[in-house]
Structures are given as structure tokens and as C-alpha cells.
Amino acid sequence: MTGHVSSINCTNCGAGLEVLGGGRVTTQVCGYCGARLDANDAYRVLSVHAAMYRPDTPFKLGMKGLVDGVEHTIIGIAGYVERWQGSEWYWVDHMLYSPTHGYAWLTLEDGHTLLTRKVRDWPRGPFLTSREVERAETRPTREWRGKTYVYYATSSWILDYVEGEFTWRPEKGQRGTAVSLMPKGKASDMLTFADGEEREIEVTRYFPEATAIFGAAPSAPRGVHPLQPYVPKEGKRFYGLWFAAMTVAALVLAMLVAVTSGERITLYEGQPETIPPEMTFDVSRVSRPVRLELFQNLAQTWAEYEMSLTDPVGTRIAETGRGISYYYGGSGEDAWSEGSRYSSLTFQPTVPGTYVLLMEPGEVQPLAGRVPLRLTVQEGRGRALWLLIAAGAFAMAFLWTLSSGWRHRSARWKGSDWTEEDDD
């Protein structure tokens, strides 16, 4: 380790550069002119990068923070890009240095912060390369420290920006691949087989406290990161129980309404042309609506009926028409239908007694005239449908709340590039 030199002047542009890393630093890249300097050879210029654009990161060179109780300093910043089928993904690695604990990486990806360290005790089996993944017939796995890591994705990265000190020779445009594996279940670490200038195996963990630790501005995470552990939202248990209770309550009420509805009585069943001109029915309860329902099993045709309804005291309470039409076509996914074989007239009775219905066919298509019509009446009818809709909505809210952990885990694996076909 070094520590005698605290700053140098860039041998290309003369800018003052802090020396923050240790003895294993081989390269320093000037953040002002982009010059790559050889830290092992009097900082001679290796090459000069032009037109590098500093990635958006709240972390800066020289920031210090305690990582697992050990002070680390940010000594280098490397911006990466991955391009695939017209899409681009960006992330920023920050090289960390501790005189006693060595080097590590702090990564900023979609606002999430991660910590990566080199693995010395490599898992059993050969180094997992992208070529081996392509050849694999089943999802590759590796055993490490008592856990089974399952293939997640392969990343082909390009180095897009470099600044500061590094223990290797970074260069804009440099390429490499990384094959990553994650344990199934709740674990939140990732093994990466990095294949570039050197082959290394690294372990990465979710590190949301990074910005606070290093005194950087908070970053806003976007989406669910594969390494992000599931943290139930506050009140999940309460809301789950509440939605479950409301579902049960709505169902009980719906059943109550259904069983207390009056009997459905058939007033007429037969051909439309033989409908009696006058039909009567008795209503004993005026607290709930009465429903007259027409049913005709029509196909590719329609019919209309004129209806006039008078209450027991002689007041005409409805003078209306009702139509039934039903059309359909197509097959399979292109199948369609239009209209309904049912039509109804619902009214709120004001007085008990005998009601008179005058009904006659209006305009009835010839085909519809040959199809039997059924007319039923039901008093004391409740609106169980709305209670059932409410029960369904509450049940969906309950399942949504209950499934938050499962949805989170699904989102973690969403970015995996291994398809189920690959598993076959």
C-alpha cells in the first residue's frame, strides 16, 4: 500500500489530481483532459480519451464512508453501457479502496445502489462463460457457500467513461462479458463471472444505504432491482385483513339479498304471436323492486315487444317497449357476439295488490316469431349483483395485497434472459 503521495499533476494537462488509492493502483485517468496515466511509471501518458461524458451519479472521487464498519474511499468512476436490440442500459461503477480491506465496487444502476467484492473461494466447477451458457441445455447453476446459484443473465458491456484510479487498465470502448447467477428464494446477492482482461468472480449485494454512508444526494430507485430484497409495505397486514373481511361481508350480504328475494314466477311461455293481451301478477312487498324479465333464445335476429303496466289503483306506471336481439359470428379468437337474449323491466312498486301488464309483439322478425318467448316476474328483488361486484373488487384487492411478495420476486427475475424454451 502507498499513502506517501497525496496528489500529482496530470502529466498531460497539468491539472492537480488526488492520489487516493493504494499500491495496487496501476492507472489514473485525469477527469479534466481524459488522459490515461501509468501509475507505475511516473504517471506517463498512455493515451488520451476525448469527448467522454461524465455519467449522472451522486458519488464523487474522494468521498469516504463506512462499509460494514470499515472506511472506504471512492477512488475511481467507470460508466458502462450495454446495447441490445436497439435498447441501452447504463450503470456506473465506483471503485472503493480501504488500506486494510482492499478494493470493492459501489454500483449505481437505475437509482439502486449495490456493493460488489471479489470472491477468492471460487465455487466448484469451471469458470462460467457466456459461451458455456449458450451451449447449456438447462439453466446453469453453481454451488457457493452452501447456496445454489441459478443462471440469471449475461451482460455484454462497453466501458463508456473512466475517471480516477484503477487497479487495472481501463479504456473507453473496452468490452467484456459478465455472467450472473442468483439464488432462488429470498436471498439478495448475485455471483458474477466477469470475463474481460482478467477472469474474476464477484459477489454483489443490494446496498441501499450507500448514499447516506458516503454523504451523497439520495438516488431515486426505479423499478424492482434483481437484488432488491422484499420489504413488506407498512400496513400490509392490516390492509390484507381489511380487504379479506370486506370480501366476506360483501359475499354474505349478497347471499342474504339472494335468499330473501321473492320467487320467480313464469307469466307466459310460448310463441310470441300467442301472448295473452292482458296478464296480471300480485305484489305483496313494496320495499324492494319488481322485475319483469323476457327471454328468447334468438340467433341472428331480433324482436320488439310493447309493454304497458298499471298498478292496483289504476295508475299507469310504464308505457314502454323492450327489444331482444342476438347476433354472432367468427370462430376461435375471431369469434364475436352482439346483443342479448334477455331484456327486463324493473320498477319500484308503491302499493301492494294486483298489477296488470298489457303486452303484445311489436316488430318481430319472421325468424324470431318462431322462437318461444318466456316472461317471468320476481318481486322483492335485491341488487345482489352490485354486492357481488364489490366482493370481487375487495377479493382482488386482497389478492393484490397478499401477492406483493410473490410479485416482487417475479419482478426480480423478470430481467433474466433465460427463457422457458431453454429449459426444455
Binding site: M1, T2, G3, G22, G23, R24, V25, A39, N40, D68, V70, Y97, S98, P99, T100, H101, G102, Y103, R120, D121, W122, R124
Partner: protein
């Protein structure tokens, strides 16, 4: 243990451990070598510049699953860009070993039996493979190092200022093999395992 005095200044030396071959005088800073029960001054013990350390002489530290290690000797090697530290000491069961610490790279090593020394054609170079005790290793680092300072007691004589070539070889599951080669053809081999620096903790 036997009480001895420094042949340079006459100050009392610390009680010598059974394996000690070299000790530093805390009063005059001399290196004192034990040769056939006689003590010889071998120069100064060098300047051990202050630097953050995971291990210090006399302070027990837990080395992960390996146990509790107490260092009794400390050598610092300079490799140009920086330095690394080698600590000699014992585990709780009395087993002696070396622990090297270099910017978070911590390795616990013991000498390799001469029967298991690898056969190597020519000088070590990165990527070269060797086999020791049936295990294959690949060379990952080669450089020159100079012993610049020592403290405590060591099982062998370290000549400060002497340059030697060292090579590190990586094996399966964190195994490490190291070679030290001197200009006169002498060499030594050590084997052991890497230890996570976060597993090196002061023993309370």
C-alpha cells in the same frame, strides 16, 4: 524460553520463543540473530512506517474458521508501488503459521514439505501452472520484493534490504501457493488459503 541480552546495547531482550531465530531489540533497534545459542547483531530492524493494520503483534485476532491467531513477528516487504506485511505467529493449538496482508488480500500459509515442492521449468511467469500435493495452481502474480523492516520474533533470519523474487499461484476454492526465490538459487514454498478481510476480527 531463555532470557538474553542484546549484544549491541546490553538491554534485556524479550523472552525468546522456542522457534525464534531472529528478534529485534526494542531499545537500540538492532536485528539480533540466534546462531547456535549465540546472539549476533545483524544490523538495524528497519523503519516500520505507521500504516493501518489488520493484525498487530501480541493482539489475538480471529481468522475466520481457522481460529484465533496471535502474531509474534512482523516483516514488511516493499514491492515498489507499495508494501505488504507478513506476520508469523501461532493459532490457539500452538500451530505456527504465516499470515500475509496486502491491501485486503489476506492469506494464511505454512511451509510446503520439500517432498511436495512443485517442479518448475524456468522462472515463474503469470499463467504458468504448477502442481503441489496433487493440486494444480496457476501463477497470478510475479514481482520483486525487498524486506524493509521487522519487529518481534521470527523463525528464520530476514536480511533487510535483500531483494527476492516472489510468485503467487492460485488454486481451487481459495487455495494459494507462494514461492520465494533468491539470487543464490535458494527458494521456499508456502501453501494456504485466502481469508476474507472481513473475517479477520479482534478476538474479544
Amino acid at each position: 524460553m531463555t532470557e538474553r541480552t542484546c549484544p549491541n546495547c546490553g538491554a534485556a531482550l524479550p523472552p525468546l520463543l522456542a522457534h525464534a531465530r531472529m528478534v529485534n531489540c526494542e531499545f537500540c533497534g538492532s536485528s539480533v540473530v540466534l546462531e547456535d545459542e549465540a546472539l549476533r547483531v545483524a544490523g538495524k530492524a528497519g523503519v516500520m512506517a505507521d500504516a493501518p493494520e489488520l493484525i498487530s503483534i501480541g493482539t489475538p485476532v480471529r481468522l475466520g474458521d481457522a481460529g484465533v491467531f496471535t502474531a509474534t513477528g512482523h516483516v514488511r516487504y516493499d514491492y515498489g508501488r507499495g508494501h505488504w506485511d507478513e506476520y508469523h505467529g501461532t493459532l490457539e493449538d500452538g500451530a505456527a503459521l504465516w499470515v500475509s496482508v496486502d491491501e485486503g488480500d489476506v492469506a494464511m500459509q505454512r511451509p510446503v514439505d520439500r517432498a511436495n515442492w512443485p517442479r518448475m521449468q524456468g522462472p515463474p511467469r503469470i499463467g504458468r501452472q504448477v502442481t503441489s500435493a496433487g493440486i494444480d495452481y496457476t501463477c497470478s502474480e510475479v514481482d520483486n520484493a525487498t524486506a524493509v523492516a521487522f519487529r518481534g520474533q521470527l523463525p528464520e533470519e530476514i536480511v533487510l534490504g535483500e531483494v527476492h523474487l516472489y510468485a503467487n499461484f492460485s488454486g481451487p476454492r481459495g487455495a494459494i501457493l507462494s514461492a520465494e526465490l533468491w539470487g543464490d538459487g535458494e527458494s521456499a514454498w508456502f501453501t494456504g488459503v485466502w481469508i476474507d478481510p472481513y473475517d479477520v476480527e479482534p478476538e474479544t
